[in-house]
Symmetry: D2
Subunit: 353 residues, 4 copies
């Protein structure tokens, strides 16, 4: 069935495969009067693109975005905003040896089982290139949010076994792993390069913080803010876990430790991660996601082909030894899309009517 | 905005507050010809209801379900199945002191901010009683899944700092904490009672396993199976984290450790938790959720009233010192609802057409 | 698949069969703070119910509505509003002879073909009783609209070959056929009684006018106001046509006749029926629907049974010889539901931001 | 709010304005394994495009479609199919005099009221060019339907006051007005040219017939087949009425005339237009739509500008004196999209399981 639409009020549909003609997104429900330019979208795409540093893939994709509809004299008109990035003339031939082989950890096996046909070149629709549409739409969502004082920032909280101990937001874009702790960033980078040398890859944890979000976002009981964030983030290809606020740590806590007590000056703590009963409290919204180590590795692995014959595979080519730095803008985009959807939905209550 | 509908093909709408006339659910899209009885639904509701043991609230709610529509001579007809449970004549007066006070950790504060009006009695819509509708619908979903060989089972994996070390499915319903490890179950129960004695509460982790699910469930890129499971489970009131397969452990792993290699006899491991690229692989689907310690505690806590005046509150009454055992059937229901939705959606591919 | 939900922001799900335990509706997305009482809903249900006069069925159904959730101290809270009407203990045995026979003009044949099972008693889900939920929800929608100065009124424009020549809104509820032309109303009534005497039935046309609706309702290109009205009205069981403004008369017109010219005092005409480009203009919204003659007639008709054996059938019992008067409140309700959905959706533009 | 998505299972999103960079559509939910080529889509676009004859606009738009995603080696893969048609470098300057003026009968006024901003060039999003996306998606829908033996054909039933008296399907594409009655076609053409000479335009009626559709399509009570057809067709810019089967004629009929009696050889008549209770009967599905006379006329008309100042306007340029022939492929496409959505949804019942 159809599964490529996200959002209710600010609604996007992404399209495109890694080795097709192009990838893109259409935004349905973009409010009128928003300043939109290819330049502002390109800034975010450049943060996502490969080839930024030696801890990401050396593939150099320029990924130039084109606005095809929905704006007039530099402003949105309320009609669908169509954004497209042409795929470059890629060497599809390099994938010929993968035509009938399922790469472990990839979607090859399940796409083949589900659809009975598979574009084997570079992951097809399951490629990370699909996130170009998300980031392009996210750039516009973030602009709308900023107009309302809401800011979304993400960073590497953990890579391999190295944790960020401090959070200095200014540091994030200064290091190639997008870690807010300068010292940890250095060790993260070293670990990635070590894994890369061994033909292996590393995972990590990305933390996303949305500040400036007013109380009242989220529609219980199913379209809760936390539920929508979980869905949005888990829909990114490499994510295996989502937690809000104290997250999995709550399991070992007592209620008296975990409850966020309230005073006339506000909440004393933020274990809830800014969400109670599925609705934003007005505090920072804090989410963390678990990023798996890149599935494409040089090490030989056992697998089967489409005829279920045993074989082995080594994934040659220029792959990210750790995808965490490039997940950062994608995660920001998904959170921004969720918040924009709630921002633009009908709001009620004492502060909203 | 509207937020009380879940599912696309097997679609439910739940309704009702803890101290209104009744709670219920309407199922839209139930296939015809399914044997449905009040008895089979009641079995699941009895697993969810309070008063089951001394580790849950002693409130005794009989929670008798009535089928109001959608069946004819014991079988579903394809029309909406409406299920209702009358609320008993409850002592709403006991909540008078909470009329203007926000209980820490509860949705009181956010519902008031969002809607500007609040049914303060027992949590209103944010009460756990809302899950009655989910479990009632889940009972029918589980029946449909079983007809197709798919079984969903959940259990307490962790309560406080006690972990289940072994998984014996037969053990789950034999102990009041629904733990598959008999020895751990005893310690879990002791810990809960200790916390209860101190006027406090405990959290934990529930693990859900769906077996028998064929490859092919999930609609990339947004309606992925993992994304829908995350949304479904995070929509339960007390959940702060969701992880699939190896979950947050992937952060510290290398790709060569984490990839599930494949042989002609099947996958060698299941770190992916039965989902690749958002589509089921045919292996067991494994999900874990973090349950926060019950917010209602006897201990005195700081808070404010609706006029933002400082005050304190002690939550009297009969509350669950640990909600984990009662979350188990709710989590099973949510997973069953997601899987049924994919089961009944259009399927493609070599095994499906 | 699921098909019992209507609306996006003000969203309803109806449920129930004519001879089940009850019929009802759940409203998801009702704004908080609306005064809601069983009495105000009952007023509209009484306009829909049978037994109002000798031109409708003499069945006397009291149809008392109960509010099961979503209100607190007489006001909506923003949570789902669940409304139920118990079916009376009906004589299902009278339908035994129809168990295996398809009544011409009814949904018997298609429900059986689609679902393979059929509740043959009184039409089951395809019964006009299903509209109780629509009218109950419509009563609340109309209240919300009136709070914003929008009023929806419907009436019989034509019954059989008698047309209303004048429109006096005060006249509508004074005659049993709900015709705004007193003189025509008398002839309509006579014609209905003549048809009834012959064991036959009559069709007609209902006109619906919504006044006070501001410019800006409707979301091009698919969720246009006219498209949503057409869908809403065509979803009523007996409707075979929908037209907006000049409707089918436009076919024989020239552009210069049909265009509504504009002056600084407003539009000179309203051939568009208050909708241009799928968006309301601020003029009256005018819609007409074609109501087929009641399918249940006493006259003998040819048909088949579930084994495709030729037979004949005469529909005994107390049926409406003309359903037009009872369609009036249902049509009003559907238009009100559509307008409320747009009213509560995010609005933009010079007058809205 | 967002309004550019149509369908649930076979779901499309259209985008683009008449004078932007391009127009297009993304199809979400296209089944895998369908043969798709730019040629097959181009055939349908060529039927829709301007400049086909002297009864349509002489603008010559080549409208070449490009497939941007969703196919691999000529077959669909189950991923989104993105289709784009570049707009030619158009003379936008010709619209400068309309920048602040609302053309009567057009969406200029309402788009401005709703969004507060308007792309005045050639109708912007409200232009007929928006239907390119519908026809492109419709071409694929029709292919899928044909694979299942379902065929959708439309034609001019009436233009001005000339009616088709006979229906010869082979005749339709032989005359420029797409009328199945050769003799009437000649008179229709004459009437259009007469109107054109006078700087005026004509309306008409298009009839759409879907044959080969099995019983069982349609999901009561809101997603009924007739309701979805009405919505789909009324969403076309120039349509003011939709009727099914006998349509508005039922108003003056008796039940005994209108009911379609059934025999073991099938239905004796088809007044219902192939739909009972919102579900297809297996007969031909017959729908008619009222097409208004083109709003763009050379005759001087009264109007106002954005400052509500009185003025007059004459619409220069090359406009269709009658849009009926070009509505034909658009109407076919919308019906095909609806039927495909039901075809691909889950089907039940004796003939389906």
């Amino acid at each position: 069935m159809a599964g490529n639409v996200f959002g209710r009020v600010f609604r996007i549909m992404t399209w495109g495969e890694s080795h097709g003609a192009a990838v893109g997104v259409v935004i349905d429900g973009c409010p009128p009067g928003i300043d939109i330019s290819e330049e502002m979208i390109q800034v975010e795409l450049d943060r996502r693109r490969p080839g930024q540093s030696d801890v990401t893939t050396p593939r150099d994709e320029t990924d130039r975005v084109q606005i095809l509809s929905g704006t007039f004299e530099g402003k949105s008109t309320g009609t669908p905003v169509s954004l497209m990035v042409r795929n470059r003339d890629q060497n599809s031939g390099q994938y010929d040896n993968l035509r009938d082989v399922f790469r472990p950890g990839h979607a090859d096996y399940t796409f083949f089982k589900k659809y009975g046909i598979r574009d084997h070149r570079g992951g097809g629709r399951a490629s990370g290139r699909e996130t170009i549409g998300r980031v392009a739409a996210g750039a516009i969502a973030r602009k709308i949010l900023l107009n309302h004082g809401i800011n979304v920032i993400a960073y590497a909280r953990q890579i391999g076994d190295v944790h960020a101990e401090t959070v200095d937001l200014d540091e994030i874009e200064r290091n190639p792993v997008r870690c807010p702790d300068k010292e940890a960033a250095g060790r993260m980078k070293d670990n990635i390069l070590t894994a890369k040398d061994k033909g292996d890859s590393l995972g990590g944890i990305v933390e996303i913080v949305a500040s400036g979000c007013p109380a009242g976002f989220g529609d219980p009981v199913f379209d809760r803010l936390d539920a929508e964030l979980a869905r949005a983030l888990m829909s990114i290809g490499t994510i295996k876990g989502v937690e809000i606020g104290a997250g999995f740590d709550v399991a070992a806590r007592r209620g008296s430790e975990n409850n966020d007590q309230i005073t006339s000056d506000g909440f004393l703590t933020n274990n809830a991660g800014g969400i109670l009963g599925g609705i934003s409290t007005g505090q920072d919204i804090v989410v963390r996601i678990a990023v798996k180590p890149t599935s494409s590795i040089l090490k030989e692995q056992r697998t089967v082909d489409t005829g279920n014959r045993d074989t082995t595979v080594r994934i040659e080519g220029r792959h990210d030894p750790c995808i965490v730095p490039r997940v950062v803008p994608v995660a920001e985009s998904m959170v921004a899309l969720v918040l924009t959807d709630f921002l633009l939905g009908r709001q009620y209550g004492t502060e909203w009517i």
